[in-house]
Amino acid sequence: MTLTTPMSPDGPPSVRIRDLTVVYRTAAGELPAVRDVSMDLAPGTVTGLVGESGSGKSTLALSLLNAVQPPGRISAGSVDIGGLGDVVQLRGDKLRQARGGQIGYVFQAAQNSLNPLKTVGKQLLDLGRSHDVKDLRALVAEARDLLARMGLDGARVLDSYQHELSGGMRQRVGIMLALVLNAHVVVLDEPTTALDMITQANILEIIREIHAERGLTTLVITHDIGVVAEVADEIAVMYGGRLVEQGPVRAVLGDPHHPYTRGLIQAIPRLTGDIDEAQALPGRPPTLTTIPDQGCVFRSRCALRMDVCDTVDPLFQSTGDRMVACHAVAPAATFTTTTSESEREMTPSRAWSGIGSGRREPAADGDGVVARETNEGDSA
């Protein structure tokens, strides 16, 4: 269902993850934190990866850079990035150059992703030298541009230490450092956790815009479905180290197939509408040691549990507009379990090649309630 044709060198590259397994060495042996995950990030899309704490999101994200930290290691699978080849096989300088050069990573706790003893500018220069950038002046100019684009006073920020910047500013600096070398694959791990509402909205908007402007392939990791809904074209849901559902955002949110996705969405209280519709998901998420090593990982919390779930791993397979890993919603059974909700199909499934086009309902602007651009305020 996905297009995997390699892009031209200038266009956004594609990312193909195949059968990726990442294990951590623990007292109880090597346990998989990510298991048999196959996923495609189509060129030019924003994919949102959601899952609960410990479901393996960060691990998966690090795998994209072949940077899983010990005691973890990639034990199987491949990560093909357009124009780079299989990252898992990269070693040494090549790998290092790929990081930052081709793949930008915005850290989970970007608040602390800066060296406290050096100004942002100095760290930028370190970055430039590490990647053998000839023209450091141009690099600085580029960084300043990027920062200005995100509504910051570039010169001031470059001259600041980490502790002089607020959380939102640091996050933007993180994004700048991920992009300044012209990376076209960008991974953002929980870019808005620990930011407050308004800042979060602001950062999400920036991500969206820059993604569009620079022609990126973006993976946004979060545990907040709202964030994915805001920013992503495509959503992937992880649970217990597996991918359980992947598809276009609106389609998946509007009509979740996998019982976990459905439970998750239902467990979110809404701002309007009937508040009592929100339903808690029973049970609790598994940890590395309690993930069953065979059968469906979600079965213990699943309302649709069948005998087969205990023994057989559900395949992650295509059902219509998306991929799902569930015995109960397998292609044949899809409609038997979800008939009641089939009417939700109203959301138009959309091609992910179109960058941000028409995704967002245009803001009403008739009565002067115009959302001003954030960057104006900052430079004032």
Binding site: R96, R99, F107, P116, D126, Y161, E164
Partner: protein
């Protein structure tokens, strides 16, 4: 602070028993002087003993201290500041060299131990670090002396320099200085190095766990850059310990100088206690205390200079 310490010392020193003159007299007898000769030698000393009540002495002492006058030796009549000045350089220079040496070594090995912390070698290094930190400096000094001065007598175990060489900037003199200082310096270095390993290791482990290191790696920074990041951030907290460690070494100097008969402050303190040279004793003790306090202050200032978090905050004020 210094004042509290000072008063405390003064009180103790004042109630200290023993009379310097008597001590000197009997020692001369033991050396074979006749009683007359011994008396002639010591008669003058009687006049040098402090007089008046303890309170008067105290007030007088404090008064002269305010004028930066430490008084004169009760036994020799030489200005205490001259005596201290002479002794201090013999302590400060080896202590500093030893500290810097052990600091550099300890920091390097500490980094290594932190990086290899799950391996056998890293473990061994850490353990050796705690062992050396736990080991008293006199044990180190005695072992060194036993090896290099007794079993295999290659290094001198007394004095600071060979008197035959003309003092000044000439090779012989400097070599002789070095030869005499090796064992004290080695002792200072060895006994403080364990602390550095441990401190550096735990500091590096903390920094390694910091997100910005992983972030730098994920941005594809060069290893050397990352290493610099680690090192600089990890060393920072060590500077406060640096001050404390110098203080500890000043105490250790007492043993080291006694064992290697090195003419520094520690030796001065021991000798002046033995001779009941009250003013020198107080002066030496005061100097050591002041050194500790100053080291702390300097460390604080240094910290402010190198840590932008503190520096900029200070600027803003």
């Amino acid at each position: 602070m210094i004042w509290v310490v000072l008063t405390f010392t003064f009180v103790i020193v004042s109630i200290m028993p023993g009379d310097p003159v008597q001590a000197e007299y009997e020692l001369l007898l033991q050396q074979g002087h006749s009683p007359q000769q011994a008396e002639a030698q010591t008669a003058m000393l009687h006049r040098f003993r402090p007089t008046g009540s303890v309170l008067e002495q105290y007030l007088e002492y404090m008064g002269s201290l305010l004028r930066l006058d430490l008084g004169q030796s009760v036994v020799t009549r030489v200005d205490v500041s001259t005596i201290l000045g002479e002794a201090t350089r013999w302590t400060v220079i080896p202590v500093l060299i030893g500290t810097v040496l052990s600091f550099v070594l300890g920091v390097l090995i500490g980094v290594y131990a932190a990086i290899k912390r799950s391996g056998k070698l890293g473990d061994a290094l850490t353990l050796s670090g705690s062992l050396l930190r736990g080991l008293p400096d006199f044990v180190v000094a005695l072992i060194l002396a036993a090896i290099f001065a007794t079993l295999w007598p290659v290094l001198p175990r007394s004095g600071a320099v060979n008197i035959l060489y003309e003092p000044g900037f000439n090779l012989d003199y400097i070599l002789s200085l070095g030869q005499h200082a090796i064992l004290p310096i080695a002792t200072y270095a060895i006994s403080s190095y364990g602390g550095w390993i441990l401190a550096m290791k735990s500091s590096v482990v903390t920094v390694l766990g910091d997100d910005f290191i992983l972030a730098a790696e994920l941005r594809g920074m060069k290893r050397s850059v990352i290493f610099r990041y680690i090192a600089r951030n990890a060393i920072l907290p060590l500077f406060t310990i640096f001050a404390l460690s110098i203080a500890a070494l000043f105490s250790g100097a007492i043993f080291v100088e006694r064992i290697f008969n090195y003419p520094g402050l520690g030796m001065l303190l021991i000798n002046s206690i033995g001779r009941r040279d009250i003013t020198v004793m107080t002066g030496a003790f005061l100097l050591i205390t002041a050194a500790v306090i100053v080291a702390n202050i300097v460390a604080d200032m240094f910290y402010t200079v190198i840590d932008p978090r503190v520096r900029r905050a200070g600027d803003a004020a």
